[in-house]
């Protein structure tokens, strides 16, 4: 009868196995973090860009039923103080947002309405104001913010390389990281500029764990974008309306 391996032999074998595996794991972490940092650095320092994104998002209804909605978003960014987002919903209706350095204008061509809010400064400050102070919806704003690297830094230790995959015809590194309340997956182009080709955000703490996805197309870095691209002429008959901001305990009709 063959003699069973001793405990000492097993321990040595386990140590050797761990030593062999650990560099591979560390290497995957390093690759994932490096790819994310490269992407964040590139997006944050790019002064002008244009890209389109086909987006989907789940909305979990009160019944628990999960319904998907979608839209195409076209972003034109010209730092320091110009931005434009054109949105086409799946029903064909169009809406958008323009920041021209002095005001934020949001419009809805289907509803024939628009709103204009005075705001000067950088595009980052303006879009932050739009999303947080005015409570307006602006998906993926952080991805195009100048502080993207800082935003992602604290989550980099969780980054992992899932594999090498092709999305939208582009060879990409599929990386995953865990943020405070979300799981984020990114597909970052392997060759050339480290541009995201796809992003999936899972809201793991929300009922039903809804997801937001975006597939990027037509990345153009540093295009020539004239001032006229950020001009807004209200369509004939368009109604100018206000933006309701989050309540601050003030009821309209009462003396301030």
């Amino acid at each position: 009868m063959r003699k069973a391996p001793s405990a000492r032999t097993l321990a040595v074998a386990a140590a050797l196995l761990l030593a062999a595996i650990r560099p591979a794991v560390a290497s995957e972490e390093n690759i994932a973090a490096a790819r994310i940092e490269a992407m964040a650095s590139l997006l944050a320092k790019t002064q002008r860009l244009r890209v389109a994104a086909d987006c989907t998002y789940d909305v979990v209804q009160d019944s628990g039923e999960k319904i998907e909605f979608g839209e195409r978003r076209e972003l034109t960014l010209r730092r320091p103080d110009r931005a434009r987002v054109d949105v086409t919903l799946r029903d064909g209706s169009r809406r958008g947002l323009i920041f021209d350095g002095t005001q934020l204008i949001t419009f809805d061509l289907g509803e024939k309405v628009y709103a204009a809010v005075s705001k000067s400064g950088t595009v980052d400050a303006a879009l932050d104001h739009y999303e947080h102070d005015l409570g307006m919806r602006l998906p993926l704003r952080k991805l195009f913010g100048a502080d993207l690297q800082q935003e992602l830094r604290e989550y980099l230790p969780s980054a992992r390389l899932v594999g090498e995959e092709t999305v939208g015809g582009v060879a990409a590194d599929h990386v995953a990281l865990r943020a405070a309340a979300t799981d984020v997956q990114l597909w970052i182009a392997r060759a050339g500029d480290a541009l995201p080709q796809r992003i999936v955000i899972t809201y793991r703490r929300e009922p039903g764990q809804p997801r937001f996805t975006a597939d990027f197309q037509g990345w153009t870095l540093n295009p020539d974008v004239p001032d006229s691209a950020f001009a807004f002429v209200p369509p004939e008959g368009a109604e100018k309306i206000p933006i309701l901001t989050p309540g601050r305990g003030r009821t309209r009709g009462k003396q301030p």
């Binding site: 987006c55 998002y57 789940d58 909305v59 979990v60 209804q61 009160d62 319904i67 949001t106 809805d108 289907g110 509803e111 024939k112 309405v113 709103a115 204009a116 809010v117 005075s118 705001k119 947080h132 005015l134 409570g135 307006m136 919806r137 602006l138 998906p139 993926l140 704003r141 952080k142 935003e151 992602l152 989550y155 943020a179 405070a180 309340a181 979300t182 984020v184 955000i201 809201y203 929300e206 809804p210 997801r211 937001f212 975006a214 109604e239 309306i241 206000p242 933006i243 309701l244 901001t245 989050p246 309540g247 601050r248 003030r250 009821t251 309209r252 009709g253 009462k254 003396q255 301030p256």
Partner: protein, 181 residues
Amino acid sequence: MSRRSRGAAALVAAVFILAAFVEDGAARGGGRGGGGGFRGGGGFSRSGPAARGSFGRQPARASQRGRYDRRAADGRLGERHDERQQRREERRDERDGAWEDHVEDGWDGREEWEDHIEDDRDDDDGGYYYDSGVVYWSLPCRPNVIAMGGVVYYVCDSVWYTRAYSEGEVVYTEVPNPTGH
């Protein structure tokens, strides 16, 4: 059943179907003021955490922001009809109370009060204003559309509404009657 009576029955049925269709259309889309059509079809809500497409720190959610009620029952962003009626009465009481306070505080005239309302809702805040009321996807009727002082009002059953943006969507919000009647 004779051919004539079958024809009459079919005509009656057609009238009922048409009437139901018109009624439904008025209730759903009548208030859109010339554009867009019914939003939130089938009573489905379109807003939620994933719609914001944010990673990392989440912006404040609708349920945490003020007193907006975002239930989408009957395709409305706000309350069901009975709840809305109750809320409407409460808001009328609030306005009446505010008006009484306003008079007691020594303000001297309805006109000034109306100016105050206008200031409260518009450009003094640079195109936005604070509101803690209820908003609606659509109106309960086909409204009378009245333009007054640069503002377009939608009137249903003596209740006045204006359109506004809320969380990126165009909604209706109840406002004081600008005529004071």
